[in-house]
């Protein structure tokens, strides 16, 4: 399969200026809210340290914690399954459903099930799957993957949603009020929830010593999916384990504040065992994570708690849209995770970054995201995954940037040339930056010329 061309996909996104601005504004608002929330907690940086150290401790004792979780969950009456990969996971879900003669499944939002493409797997086997999260349901109705980890449909305007609901639910296409639209979703989904055979959730955290699965939602989707049907299935990535509730508290305090700036989400739900007349299944999923644990440079991405803060702060993500990455995980965290799934397909992603380091600065578990992005570029070069045009351009840039005199001459010449060159000579396929933007007016002098003229003269 061809590598995902993130830049080309982003081109389509930025061509629609209205959507681009709307998306940028919404995403940046979450970043601002995150900053405000973090500043209101005096021990914020201490919490980040604790979260990072806890995750590293767990990852260095992962097998033991998984065994402890399994033992606790079984003691609580939970059926525990293990899955090597996405296919294993999906087959286990299908088998549980077949055992119960179940044909309908309701789900709360889960990035792991997106990663496993569970919905498609089940639907091709005749199972009707209904996403209960509003954003996820919107994307399901539009047959699109999520554009953001916590706001799957955030790329759509309310006018887009009104048009989609008119097409799929028969609602009034001219009514774009969010309350009306959310009510449409509730009216159409509630009956499906009440009649579903099986419910499914992901897991934000799993607690080794209590055997609990912890799920955080704004709508109560996990509570509905996990309680209304008698059979509950929870999909759990192996890296989501925490030792006890003591550590859980740290992560609950960080998660929503980092994501949206809320002190906590509306629902923080804890599933320790089945309801009295029901069944609870937990599927522990690897799907490449144990191999990533052995990657000396790239194991820290296993610390991720899926808050989306790195996306919200990333200038490239905000101006290229979540779908441009062509991947389950998008933005800075997607850039460093996706090549571990398929290095060729996601070989272009590490270049969708300015390496400004803001992603690492806001990460609640202190993943060195920007350093990993840079390291992935090196890996792509070593593994011959960089196309020749990009490689030549990077080599030329490397030469110029590593020779200060050459850099000063080049910038002066470029500024002079920009003033006289015709349009076609500037805006062509070799100038990726200028494809969607006008270049700024060249300055009268370069910074070095200005510095020599003003500052050196003064000394």
């Amino acid at each position: 399969m061809e590598p995902v061309n993130q830049a080309e996909n982003a081109k389509l996104f930025v061509e629609d200026r209205e959507h681009e601005r709307h998306f940028d504004r919404l995403i940046w608002a979450m970043r601002v809210a995150r900053d405000r929330a973090a500043a209101a907690v005096p021990e914020w940086e201490q919490l980040r340290d604790l979260a990072s150290e806890t995750k590293e401790h767990v990852l260095s004792h992962l097998a033991e914690y998984l065994e402890q979780f399994e033992e606790s969950a079984k003691r609580n009456g939970v059926h525990v399954h293990w899955a090597n990969d996405a296919h294993d996971h999906n087959q286990i879900v299908a088998d549980i459903m077949a055992k119960h003669g179940a044909r309908t499944l309701i789900k709360s939002k889960s990035m792991l099930t997106e990663e496993c493409d569970t919905r498609r797997f089940l639907q091709t086997r005749g199972i009707v799957v209904t996403e209960t999260d509003l954003g996820e349901r919107i994307q399901q109705l539009d047959d699109q993957p999520p554009a953001h980890i916590i706001g799957p449909a955030i790329q759509k305007s309310k006018e887009d949603v009104a048009a989609l609901f008119a097409r799929t639910y028969g609602s009034d296409p001219n009514k774009t009020d969010e309350v009306y639209l959310a009510q449409q979703m509730r009216n159409h989904t509630r009956p499906l929830i009440e009649k579903a055979d099986v419910g499914m959730t992901g897991a934000n955290f799993a607690i080794a010593d209590t055997g609990a699965i912890v799920v955080v939602t704004n709508e109560g989707n996990a509570d509905l999916s996990g309680n209304v049907p008698k059979v509950r299935i929870c999909s759990l990535g192996i890296e989501k384990i925490l030792p006890s509730n003591k550590e859980l508290a740290v992560f609950i305090r960080l998660l929503s504040r980092s994501a949206t700036g809320q002190p906590i989400s509306q629902y923080t739900s804890h599933f320790r065992g089945p309801r009295k007349d029901g069944e609870m299944h937990v599927i522990i999923v690897d799907n490449g994570r144990s191999e990533r644990l052995g990657m000396e440079q790239f194991w820290p991405s296993l610390k991720c708690i899926r808050c989306g803060a790195c996306m919200n702060t990333c200038p490239v993500y905000r101006r290229s849209g979540g779908l441009s990455y062509g991947s389950t995980y998008m933005g800075p965290i997607g850039i460093i995770m996706m090549p571990t799934f398929d290095i060729h397909r996601y070989s272009e992603l590490p270049f969708a970054s300015t390496l400004n380091g803001s992603c690492s600065n806001v990460c609640p578990v202190k993943i060195n995201i920007h350093e990993q992005i840079y390291a992935w570029r090196g890996v792509m070069d070593q593994k011959h995954q960089i196309n020749l045009t990009k490689k030549a351009a990077l080599k030329a840039a490397g030469n110029i940037l590593s020779h200060p005199e050459l850099y000063q001459i080049a910038t002066a010449m470029a500024d002079a040339a920009l003033k006289v060159l015709p349009h076609f000579a500037i805006y062509n396929d070799l100038n990726a930056w200028g494809k969607h933007r006008e270049l700024p007016e060249p300055p009268k002098q370069t910074f070095h010329q200005w510095y020599r003229h003003h500052r050196l003269k003064e000394t």
């Binding site: 709307h22 919404l26 608002a29 604790l50 150290e53 806890t54 590293e56 260095s60 992962l62 097998a63 998984l66 293990w82 899955a83 090597n84 209960t132 509003l134 954003g135 919107i138 799957p152 449909a153 955030i154 759509k156 309310k158 969010e178 639209l181 959310a182 989904t189 509630r190 929830i193 009440e194 009649k195 209590t210 704004n218 709508e219 109560g220 509570d223 509905l224 309680n227 209304v228 509730n245 508290a249 740290v250 609950i252 305090r253 809320q262 002190p263 906590i264 989400s265 509306q266 629902y267 923080t268 739900s269 804890h270 599933f271 320790r272 089945p274 309801r275 690897d286 144990s290 644990l293």
Partner: protein
């Protein structure tokens, strides 16, 4: 070899150098007198409603807050409603409830959250399939922060528990948080000391 052995085997082969588990402090900061105002702030920020005095005539209070309701399901001894949780042996039928009343055993000042577990709800679905939820809370049961909250035995002893903070909401359309989402439309917390 089973998938279990495969997964655990690969993890052990790729084991990281051992890192020490850090000690998590409780981070106490507030004076006890600040718990109530902080709780109110947290709850109201999440669109919850706080009634800080026990109503003299609770039936009249409910009629004024929720006019025209037909089915009030009470899980508390303080009020006899039209139904009890036990009448919903099919948990999916709890969508018929207009107002559910339940007592929370603990709340968190830091976040404005109330704890509800299967012990309090008796039928879990009354807490989110009902149209509106009223929670009775003894102000003495408010703890300062999330660290202290997780000491509550419900998190170790019950099969289901939830920290609920405001009514069900969604900001998935255009970023504006609205409250007809999938769960309850309103959450009202009433300060009401235990009997």
């Amino acid at each position: 070899m089973s998938a279990r052995q495969d997964v655990l085997g690969r993890i052990r082969n790729n084991r990281l150098p051992a890192k020490v588990k850090p000690e998590v402090p409780d981070f106490p900061r507030l004076a006890k007198t600040d718990f109530l105002p902080q709780f109110r702030k947290g709850l109201e920020e999440m669109a919850g409603v706080l009634v800080d005095e026990q109503p003299g005539d609770f039936a009249a209070f409910l009629r004024s807050r929720f006019p025209n309701v037909k089915n009030v399901c009470s899980a508390v001894p303080e009020f006899v409603g039209n139904s009890t949780p036990e009448e919903y042996s099919n948990w999916a039928d709890a969508g018929d409830i207009d107002v559910a009343i339940v007592r929370s055993p603990m709340a968190i000042a830091e976040t404005g959250s109330v704890l509800l577990s299967e012990t309090d709800l008796r039928v879990n679905t009354i807490g989110f399939l009902a149209h509106d939820l009223v929670v009775l809370l003894d102000p003495a049961d408010i703890v300062e922060n999330v660290h202290l909250a997780y000491r509550h035995p419900a998190f170790r002893n019950t099969a289901y528990s939830v920290l609920m903070t405001g009514p069900s909401g969604s900001g998935d359309i255009g970023g504006r948080v609205v409250h007809p989402a999938q769960g309850v439309m309103t959450l009202t917390v009433i300060f009401w000391p235990k009997i």
